[in-house]
């Protein structure tokens, strides 16, 4: 796993207390009952702060899993390169 993934895991862990890193990597709004719209807002704020990126408003609704956040960051990273 990359250093970026580890940082993303830390972001999720700060919101979803008690999940293991492996569980976090398979997390989605369907697998975690407490994941609601405010959770997405909090995760987005964490990711923006931790990775110094700006998440587009229209993308927010699609960020409904760890994998979606990971893919979004990967795309941003690719664009920068």
């Amino acid at each position: 796993m990359s250093e970026r993934d580890d940082r993303l895991v830390r972001c999720f862990a700060s919101v979803f207390h008690g999940l293991t890193p492996d569980e976090i990597r398979s997390t989605s709004d369907e697998s975690v009952g407490t994941w609601d719209s405010l959770t997405t807002v909090t995760l987005a704020a964490l990711v923006q702060e931790e990775f110094n990126v700006e998440i587009d408003a229209e993308v927010l609704s699609r960020l409904d899993s760890f994998e979606a956040f990971r893919g979004y960051l990967a795309d941003l990273h690719q664009d920068k390169e």
Binding site: V41, T42, E50
Partner: protein, 590 residues
């Protein structure tokens, strides 16, 4: 250089705040209940506030409840304050009138402005009533609007128009009015400005999308400010300062009395400002003493200079000799009868700082940063952090006098021999007992929460618990004021308890160490037995590491070491009480 309060330490990141909130607390941890009243979505502000409070109260379980989105006034008016330890309120412009925010499209036309101002003024009145009512029941901390007003005015941004100024006046008027109330504390916007730049506070996108208007940095700063006011720490009690190159510039023993300075012409003005700060602290009831290695005769002459801003009358005691500074500090602590951790020592010599710190590790020892303008300025601000208090009481104005006069009492034999009887009889002392069933006596609250030596059990009250205690009809507060021919000591003791018919239980009893040796404690018991007409008093007594004087007092009265929760009979008291010479006056407030 100095540890700082709200706004001046590195800001907490959101992930750090969330991780702090995940730290486990003990199963038996007591709960601190906070109500966060905001009109916007509390989101990350709630997170930051919770994390700051966890850091300040690491052994407690922090529970934050929030109000209803978009209805600040309603949240304030509906709240049941007895259920809360503190209430944190954040007012933003849109709470005064929704058109002052961006989530309403009510119109910004010039003809709307008058109505917006009038509406804001009406909401201000409503908030003022609601917050003052809340503060009767629980401590309330308030952050006034921190965000910029929207671009709604017809003037250029560089010009402050009438409507904008009227709105600012409404807010200033609200803050000023609230600040006059006991139990209401207002966040200092000037301090907030130091780490949260006004131009970088607002997150428009977040406001529009989620209803949360703050950038994370600003949310962190506001959370820290609120938490710091919720904590409301006890101020330090005294400051000990050096003289040469600290209180004044120069070495008086070498430069002479006229060679020392603290003025603009001599480029030593910062020492004058230091004197000014110390004089201000002394005026607010902080004890100020001097510890200096010097010739006492020269220092005497120096203090005759009329341009000193800190006069000799404001200083007690002065330890001027060539012995070690730690010896001076030891004597000063004994004279003041306070512990080292409640005192600050300031000196320009690192070696002296190290020597005193070595002798008193609990004491905050500060190197005076001579020739460093910014360093001295930071020192001033730090002293305000250490010594700042929410309000001044009558006792603050007479503390120095009573400490100074207590020297006359210090050498009296306490064993009720004839010589001390003679001294007490001649002291022309009077004691005033003031009985009430209300929580509103802040001096009594302060005494109970800071007195260690003559303290029944060391138990402290939170502000909410204090108010809640007096909601019971049986509860009473008895405060004791004292004066004699040496001057007034002010309100020096407080007794809190419950009276059920012929049963009297004392839950808290404290007396300032300034009042020792005067048999006031005996007079207190006599008053309780006589005025409550009881034959026995039950004390919620517990020994602590520091309440030795109270233990000794009970031992002398009771004939043996008191046990937890012991009772004292009227017969035993009357058999052992020494002669009392005070004139006694009782005041009962309904």
């Amino acid at each position: 250089m100095f540890s700082q309060e709200a706004g001046q330490s590195p800001r907490v990141k959101l992930i750090e705040a969330l991780e702090v909130l995940q730290r486990p607390v003990k199963d038996n941890a007591s709960q601190v209940k906070i109500f966060l009243a905001v009109g916007f979505m509390p989101l990350h502000l709630q997170t930051f506030l919770g994390a700051e409070l966890r850091a300040l109260f690491p052994e407690e379980r922090i529970d934050i409840e929030v109000g209803v989105f978009g209805d600040l006034c309603g949240s304030v008016e509906r709240l049941k304050p007895f259920e809360m330890d503190s209430i944190a309120v954040v007012v933003e412009w849109s709470d005064l009138d929704a058109r002052l925010g961006v989530r309403s499209l009510g119109g910004w036309r010039p003809e709307h402005l008058t109505d917006i101002v009038e509406s804001a003024a009406r909401t201000k009145d409503r908030l003022e009533r609601g917050l003052k009512a809340l503060s009767e029941r629980a401590p309330v901390v308030v952050c006034m609007p921190t965000l910029p007003l929207p671009p709604m005015f017809w003037t250029r941004p560089a010009q402050a128009g009438s409507a904008m100024l009227q709105l600012q006046l409404v807010v200033a008027s609200l803050a000023e009015s609230l600040s006059q109330s006991n139990g209401l504390r207002i966040v200092n916007s000037q301090l907030l400005n130091e780490t949260s730049a006004p131009s970088e506070r607002y997150d428009l996108k977040s406001d529009v999308m989620t209803g949360f208007p703050y950038c994370l940095r600003h949310a962190s700063a506001v959370g820290k400010s609120l938490a710091d006011l919720v904590r409301n720490p006890s101020p330090k009690k005294g400051l000990i300062t050096d003289l040469d190159d600290t209180l004044w510039a120069g070495i008086v023993g070498e430069d002479g009395v006229d060679g020392i300075s603290w003025d603009l012409n001599s480029h030593t003005h910062m020492h004058g400002l230091f004197q000014q700060v110390l004089a201000s602290l002394a005026g607010a009831g902080i004890l100020v003493a001097v510890a200096s290695k010097n010739d006492p005769a020269i220092v005497d002459r120096a203090f005759e200079r009329t341009d000193l801003l800190l006069t000799r009358a404001s200083i007690f005691p002065l330890e001027i000799h060539w012995s070690r500074k730690s010896e001076s500090v030891q004597r000063i602590l004994k004279t003041w009868n306070v512990s080292a951790d409640s005192v600050v020592f300031v000196d320009d010599n690192p070696m002296e700082i190290a020597e005193v710190k070595g002798a008193f590790p609990e004491m905050e020892c500060i190197l005076f940063p001579k020739n460093n303008y910014q360093g001295i300025w930071d020192l001033f601000k730090h002293l305000r952090v250490l010594f700042g208090k929410p309000c001044l009481t009558d006792e603050d104005t007479i503390r120095l006098h009573s400490v100074r006069e207590s020297g006359a009492w210090r050498d009296i034999d306490l064993s009720s021999g004839s010589s001390s009887d003679d001294f007490l009889r001649a002291s022309d002392a009077s004691v005033v007992f003031d009985s009430t069933q209300s929580w509103g006596d802040l001096r009594a609250f302060e005494l109970i929460n800071k007195t260690n030596q003559f303290n029944l059990n060391g138990k402290r009250f939170t502000e909410t618990a204090w108010r809640a205690f007096f909601s019971e009809p049986a509860a009473f507060l008895l405060t004791v004021s004292y004066k004699d021919k040496f001057g007034p000591l002010g309100k020096i003791a407080a007794i809190v308890g419950k009276a059920h018919g012929r049963t009297l239980c004392v839950n808290s009893w404290v007396m300032s160490c300034r009042a020792f040796s005067r048999r006031i404690e005996h007079q207190c018991l006599k008053y309780l037995f006589e005025n409550f007409e009881v034959q026995e008093i039950a004390f919620d007594y517990e020994p602590t590491l520091r309440n030795g004087p109270l233990q000794t007092f009970f031992e002398e009265l009771n004939g043996n070491t008191p046990t937890e929760g012991f009772t004292l009979s009227k017969g035993k008291f009357e058999a052992n009480v020494p002669l009392l010479f005070h004139r006694v006056e009782g005041i009962v407030r309904v």
